[in-house]
Symmetry: C2
C-alpha cells in the first residue's frame, strides 16, 4: 500500500506539527465496553484474551468506533499485558478485579528466567491483528499500534495484577535496583521488538502507555521508567512507506516531568487532564506535539457542558498545529455513546478556527 492511499493523514501531520484544517481526534480505549456493538463481539469471543487473539474479531472491534464517529485514527484493539502473558505469566481477566496473573515475578532469579517473547513468534497473533486492522481500514485513517511501558508492565508482573500502592514493585526498585534494571532492560528490548513488529505489520503511529509512572518519585521515575521508554524510542523505525512513524509517550500523572518526557526523542507527549494545555505548550509544545486532555469524566456531563469544555481545551492549546485532541485517560465503560458524539461534533465545529483554512487534510 503506498502512502498516497491514506485518505486522512491529519493526525500524522499534527504529530509532526504540520498545518491541518482542523484538530484531529481519537480516544484512548475508543474500541471498548461503552459500545454495545463491542460488548456483543466480546461476548462472542468468550474471553477478553480470546478477542485479542483473534485477528478477525480484533479488527472488527478496532473499526467499530469509526463507524459511529468521525475519528482521525484507529487504535489496535489489544491489551498492554500481552508481553507479560507471552513471558509465561498466565494472564486472566477476572470480572470486577481486572487483570490477574497466575504467576508473579518475585525474585531476581524469576527475572533472569523470564523469556523474551518475539513479535514473530509468541506475539505473532498481535502482528496478525495489526495486519487485519490495516487491511480493513483500507486507508480510511492511520492505525496506531501501542504497548505498555516497561515500568507499567513490571508493576503488573510483580504485583500479580492491579495495585493501589505498588509496594512490591517499588520494593524491588529500592532494595534490588540491579535486578530491577535487568527486568526493565529485558522489557524495553522486548517492547522495542514488539513495536517494530507492529510497524512491519502496518502500524502507522505508536503509543507507549506509562499508566503507573506517576506513582513514582522523580528519581525513580527517571531511572526506571523514563530511561527505558527512551531506550525503546531509540530502537524504533522512524519512517516507513515514505512517512514518519510518530511515537507518543504518555505518563499518567507525569505533568511535573513533561520536559524530560519531551527530551526522549518522541514526537508526541500525552497529557492527562491535570495539566493545562497552555502550560504544557509553553513548556514543551515547541518541540513535540501534545495529545489530550479532556477528563474522561467530562463525558458524563451534559452536551452543552461538553461543548464548552472542548472549546476550553482548544483555547488552552491555542492557534496552530501540534495538537491531537484526546481524553486524558481511557474512555470509561459507563460513558453514554451519544456524549462522545457531542464531543466530536463540537471539536469539528470549533477547531477549524484554530487552524489555517488553506491546510489540506490529506497529502493525496
Amino acid at each position: 500500500m503506498s502512502s498516497s492511499e491514506l485518505k486522512n493523514d491529519r493526525i500524522l501531520r499534527a504529530f509532526q506539527r504540520q498545518p491541518v484544517d482542523r484538530t484531529p481526534v481519537w480516544m484512548m480505549r475508543q474500541a471498548g465496553r461503552y459500545l454495545a456493538e463491542y460488548r456483543e463481539v466480546r461476548a462472542q469471543a468468550g474471553s477478553f484474551m480470546g478477542l485479542c487473539r483473534s485477528p478477525e474479531l480484533a479488527a472488527r472491534v478496532t473499526l467499530q468506533p469509526l463507524e459511529r464517529y468521525e475519528l482521525d485514527a484507529a487504535i489496535l484493539f489489544s491489551d498492554i499485558l500481552t508481553i507479560p502473558d507471552a513471558m509465561g505469566l498466565g494472564l486472566n481477566f477476572v470480572a470486577g478485579e481486572g487483570p490477574v496473573f497466575e504467576h508473579r515475578v518475585k525474585t531476581a532469579a524469576d527475572i533472569d528466567r523470564l523469556p523474551q517473547p518475539s513479535a514473530e513468534k509468541e506475539l505473532r497473533y498481535v502482528m496478525d491483528a495489526v495486519a487485519a486492522c490495516r487491511k480493513e481500514l483500507a486507508g480510511q485513517v492511520p492505525l496506531i499500534g501501542f504497548t505498555g511501558s516497561p515500568w507499567t508492565l513490571a508493576t503488573y508482573m510483580i504485583e500479580g495484577g492491579s495495585s493501589k500502592t505498588f509496594a512490591a514493585s517499588k520494593s524491588l526498585l529500592f532494595n534490588e535496583p540491579e535486578a530491577a534494571h535487568r527486568l526493565m532492560a529485558k522489557l524495553a528490548d522486548t517492547v522495542a521488538d514488539y513495536l517494530n513488529g507492529q510497524v512491519e505489520a502496518g502500524a502507522q503511529a505508536l503509543m507507549i502507555f506509562d499508566t503507573w509512572g506517576g506513582a513514582l518519585d522523580p528519581v525513580r521515575y527517571r531511572e526506571f521508567s523514563l530511561a527505558y521508554m527512551r531506550r525503546i524510542v531509540e530502537q524504533l523505525p522512524r519512517e516507513r512507506e515514505g512517512r514518519r512513524i510518530p511515537v507518543t509517550l504518555f505518563t499518567k500523572g507525569g505533568g511535573q516531568w513533561l520536559e524530560d518526557i519531551a527530551d526522549t526523542g518522541c514526537d508526541g507527549v500525552g497529557l492527562d487532564w491535570t495539566t493545562s494545555l497552555t502550560d504544557a505548550r509553553r513548556r514543551i509544545g515547541d518541540r513535540v506535539a501534545l495529545q489530550g486532555n479532556l477528563d474522561p469524566c467530562m463525558l458524563h456531563a451534559n452536551p452543552e457542558v461538553i461543548r464548552r469544555e472542548v472549546a476550553r481545551c482548544l483555547e488552552e492549546f491555542g492557534h496552530g498545529p501540534g495538537h491531537v485532541f484526546n481524553l486524558g485517560h481511557g474512555i470509561q465503560p459507563e460513558t453514554p455513546p451519544e456524549n462522545v458524539d457531542a464531543m466530536i461534533r463540537a471539536l469539528h465545529e470549533l477547531s477549524p478556527a484554530y487552524h489555517d483554512a488553506a491546510a489540506t487534510s490529506a497529502t493525496s
Copy 2:
C-alpha cells in the same frame, strides 16, 4: 497551660521558618494499624468510629507512636469523615472496602437539606478527644488537629465511599456547579467551625487533607477545592496561647499547583513524593514551610536504603529552616515498625548538619 510548658516546639518553629536544631518529623497516620498496640485498642473499641468517639481511647492511640519514636508532634486520632457522618449520612467502615455511607448526596435538594453540625454539639466528641490528647501529652510535643478538605469530603458524600474515577462527584461540578458551590460552602464553613473548635480544645497546629484534589483538572481544582480551602484558612484563629497556630494544606497529586496552594495564606504546604523538595523550595519555599515527602513505600525498603533516602530528602530541601519531615502520604498498615525507627534515627543523625547549631529546640 502557658506556652512555656511546651517542651518541644521544633515543629511550630519550622512551620514559621524559624531556626531549629534539627529537622522536625511526624508521620501522616502515625497512630494506626502498623502498630500492634493500636490494633489492640482498636479491637477493644469494637469499631473504628467507636474508637474515634471515645476521648480516652482516642488519646491513648494518639500517644502510642510517641512512646516508640522520637517524634516532634502528635496528631489527633480521628477520621476525615466525622463531618459527613455528623451531617447524618451514617458512616461505617467495612473491612476491605473502607468507608461506606448509608446515605448518599444525590441531588441539589439533598445538598440544601444537609445540616451544619457544630463543634460544640454534634462534633463535641472530637473536641473532647482533642482535650484528652492535649492533657495526656502534658506539653511533650504539640498536638496537630485536622480535617478533610471540602472537595475531599464531598467525594465520599456523593460517591457513598471511595471511588476510582469520581464520576458522580465530578458530574455534580460539571452539570450543577451552583449546587456544587453551595455544598462546598456549607462544608467549608462547617470545617472552619470544626477547626476553630479543635484549637479551642487545645490543637496547636492544623492540617487540611485534600486527598482527592489531585483528581481534578486545574480549572475545577481552583474553583471547587482550593477556593474553599482558602475560605477555611481565612476563618481560622492564627494565634493562641501566645503562639501562631500554623495551618498546612496538603493536596495529594497537587504538585503542579504549589504556587496557588502557597497563596491561600497557609503556613505550610504538604508534598507527596512526586515533587522534588528542591523544586518545591525554589517555587514556594520562600513563602511557606514545606512538609514531606518520603514515599510511604520506602518504609518497605532495607534500613540502609531508608537512611540513604532520608539523606536525599534532606539534601533536596537543603540548608536552613522551613522543612517538616514527613511521608508523602499516610504510613501503610503493612509497614514494619522497625523501619520507622530506621527513618527517624537517620533523620536525627543527619539533619543537624542542615541547621545552625545555635538554634534552640524549645523556647522554654
